[in-house]
Symmetry: C2
């Protein structure tokens, strides 16, 4: 049993770009990673295999729509996708657009940085990203 | 264009546990992370949204079957899933069973280690894992 209240049950976790009763897509504030998004399940569930197969696919559809929107708006060098949840075991997917000269490239963003003064992708306009996401989700 | 030949086009990338014409599941040799698996697409494709929607779901089915088999066989504290591909842009999913006292917990396995002498999950028997995986894939 969790003693601390779950952060993702009580906070949005970023600027909302899209939301329905099942999940939400938020834009994370990360100085090094403009465009870093999270796709967060509304319910408190720890693992993908705790969901029914249809629900897994519904969540992945939102993840891939987020990837598609980020590729369309930012043209990143690579997309990184991860569901970790070791600190917050409430299903959330990190969708991170990467630049080949960013702070950690080619390493994961959780590794030690390799560049002190790194290039960044442009900061996406929230409205543009949100519109692109809606289009890819429909 | 790649100058180096793609490693995942030319090597299995681990001990094969399951394979069809579309993708393979391999057990990675990682001293700190027994049970670390990768789900690797047979074709050389960089991003999930480069696949047709049906193919994305087919690959995720294999990822979630791997998660289910690892949970069944190892009873990990948490499962971590990631598709990064910054070094090798050929679709492959890392499926990593985590122990709450492992080398990096609660951080991602790519972060700086937090324990020098960490606990590990038991090393899974390859035959048992392969059988569980087949069951979850059918």
């Amino acid at each position: 049993m969790d003693i601390e209240p779950c952060e993702l049950c009580h906070r949005l976790g970023g600027h909302p770009l899209w939301r329905d009763e099942f999940c939400r897509v938020v834009l994370v504030e990360d100085r090094d990673y403009p465009g870093f998004c999270r796709v967060i399940l509304e319910r408190h569930v720890a693992e993908m295999t705790d969901l029914a197969p249809g629900e897994r696919m519904r969540l992945m559809d939102a993840v891939f729509a987020t990837e598609a929107a980020l590729r369309e708006v930012l043209r990143p060098h690579k997309i990184n996708i991860a569901s970790l949840g070791n600190v917050t075991p409430h299903l959330h997917w990190h969708v991170v657009p990467r630049h080949s000269e960013d702070r950690h490239f080619p390493h994961p963003i959780w590794a030690e940085p390799v560049r002190a003064d790194a290039m960044r992708l442009p900061t996406p306009d929230r409205g543009t990203l949100s519109l692109s996401l809606k289009r890819h989700l429909s």
